[in-house]
Amino acid sequence: MRFIKLFAVLAVLIALASLGTVALAQDDMVEIEYWQYNFQARVDAMNELIAQFEAENPGIKVVHNSDIPYANFRDELAASAPAGVGPDVVTLFYGWIPAFVDAGYLVPLPEDPFSEDFILEHFSPMVANSKFEGSYWAIPTAVRSLAMFWNKDIFAAAGLDPESPPANLDDFVAAAIATTVYDGDMDVFNITQQGHAAALASQDHHWFREVLLRQYGGAPYSDDGRTVTYNSEEGCAAFGWLAAFETEHMTGSNDILDGSTNAFVNGDTALHVDGSFRIGTIARNNPELNYGVAELPVGPNGESHTFGSYWTHGITRRANDDPARLEAAVKFLQFITTPAAGTLWVNSVGELPAQAAAASDEAILSDPILGPFSAGLAYSHATFFVDESAQRQVLIDAFDNVRLGGMDPCEALDEAAAIEQELIDSFWASR
């Protein structure tokens, strides 16, 4: 009996203590929770922004949860929601927005201060992609575009001019072939230094969809984004061009040298297509790398295109449940998306400010590394994804079918288009 009494007393004490904490928190200040995935440069930049924000708004405390690795970020959000915990402001990949809106997880940004006119006037055009079913659901601090990285030392060693990177797709292939080194026969497994390795799981599915395809005269989707159109003659040509690096020119593969991205960072690859966020990775892991960045090579039709994307901040329904927290969340969102925040961000993360005023800053445009990314913003496309990871997987599989299964690029794209069309149709069917 004594035990039971003890338990009862303990239970009452715990209940009182938790009530007390809640009451205290309510009296003193509003506490909101902010979540993003773990990427050191982003975490540092956000910590700095939060410190500034809290100094300006003494009544608000922002709890920063940045412990979740990228690979588990969606899982953790999915696990937190039914438990009634989680973020008030969350940073999501722009391509995830439709899925999170579909679930009712995000609430629309309030008209004040995020009116459509304000967003269209001040933000990079690709931010318009956050508009979905007539509302804006998220707003970014920074945006990114793709550009071409090249290793100057490898270029010099291969007898190429280290200061003149390939400007068109033909030159790109020629440079990739010239810089590939084999130990033995010409075989992917014998490569010790890669010219170029196509990796669709990284950025190359974007390069194909929004850049190569357009440069070959095709289009990835219909104008309303609801019909897949990349399984065209132009699509085959563009996809075949990309696959040839592994199947025909044998200049590299994502399967060797620790994957295409690491291979470039480690100095084992001459040419690589990536976003500005990779600058930070290189600075941290291989600061000695002698590399340059240029705009993506122009295509057969002479056009320049690039893929634009961004991580963007939305307000959750959890914040929406409490007027005080909602107000704090909106204030916080406003603070972390100013031009000043964008400038802080570009210096720490390497992503370009989302507000045009800060992105077209002279210092950025003239920077040899950031300049090409910034120039790309003018001709960038952001794909409208209904399920980014599934749609990416479709192209990864199509590419594997070509390079591992010897499938014809046209056939692989037809198969991919059928699967992706089904994904898109089923998303819209439930709306």
Binding site: A81, D102, E415
Partner: protein, 298 residues
């Protein structure tokens, strides 16, 4: 209350704690999966609309397609099971028969075989991933030394499944070896002595004494290993690029599919229907195995 009764009451009170814990943490969620499978269950949403058997209909539709990740998951799981269990049990039986014979350093050898079983699967999976690496991986280095062509292993849709399977067979074997050894110790020496007196060959001794008397052990292991192969998840997650079960879904399993559907695509209802089907498979297979293989030995 008598002292004896008091003891019983306290025993139940202490037992109640783990039972409540298990009921809440393991059994309730397991049952909840049945309910989720009847809903369009999105963990991020507030409302989870009831959809009846829609998720099961979708499952049948996916299985009837020429190619689909769900179909690949079921086919691969069947392959893992049908290849893995017989290979693992045969190897384990051979090894334990040999271990049973030796006296010198026998403990050392037993530890060597049991060690992988108690090592973290994720750690082992990463080590294997490195061993399989093209060019610099130990296996390919050895192939090059003897002038054999390099193999892509995990990067090739045909070789990836056997590559993952060999890790699972090797890791789980230690457990089977120990159980077989325990089973072998149970067989009375006198049977072998009698057989020797009768002039039975080694094969006959094995066929008519060892094997029948090991039958309960074999059934036990068969059931346990079957279930463990049906639940395969961690090695595939750790050994394939970004845990996708590729290339081209060649290594994905039902449980990996459940995980990806539930947490990557947020289709928790559909994922639950997969779980329920897997549960039914495990139940049926276990019952059949117990019925067919558990004949009494005289």
């Amino acid at each position: 209350m008598t002292l004896a009764r008091k003891k019983v009451v306290w025993a139940y009170i202490f037992l109640a704690i783990p039972i409540v814990f298990f009921a809440y943490i393991r059994i309730y969620p397991a049952l909840f999966a049945f309910q989720m499978s009847l809903h369009d269950y999105n963990p991020l949403a507030v409302e989870q609309p009831y959809v009846g058997l829609d998720n099961y209909e979708q499952l049948v539709k996916e299985l009837n397609k020429r190619k689909s990740p769900t179909k690949a998951a079921f086919q691969n799981t069947a392959n893992y099971l049908l290849l893995g269990v017989p290979i693992q049990l045969c190897l384990a039986l051979m090894i334990s028969l040999m271990l049973n014979e030796i006296r010198f350093m026998s403990t050392f050898y037993r530890i060597m075989f049991f060690l992988p079983f108690v090592t973290s699967t994720i750690a082992i999976a990463w080590v294997f991933r490195m061993l399989y690496q093209p060019r610099f991986g130990l296996i390919n280095v050895m192939l090059q030394l003897v002038s054999l062509p390099q193999q892509p292993f995990l990067n090739n849709p045909r070789q990836a499944l056997p590559s993952v399977l060999s890790l699972v067979v090797w890791q789980g074997m230690g457990f089977a070896v120990i159980i077989f050894l325990a089973g072998l110790k149970q067989i009375p020496r006198t049977y072998y002595e009698a057989a020797e007196v009768d002039g039975a060959s080694r094969w006959h001794t094995f066929r008519f004494i060892t094997l029948p008397l090991l039958n309960p052990t074999i059934v036990f292991l068969l059931v346990l290993q079957t279930i463990s192969f049906l639940r395969m998840f961690a090695p595939v997650l750790a050994m394939t690029e970004q845990g996708r079960g590729g290339p081209l879904d060649s290594t994905t399993t039902v449980v990996l599919r459940v995980y990806r559907e539930a947490f990557t695509s947020f289709n928790m209802g559909y994922a639950s229907s997969l779980t329920v089907v897997l549960f039914a498979f495990i139940l049926v297979i276990t019952i059949i195995q117990l019925r067919v293989t558990a004949r009494r030995i005289n």
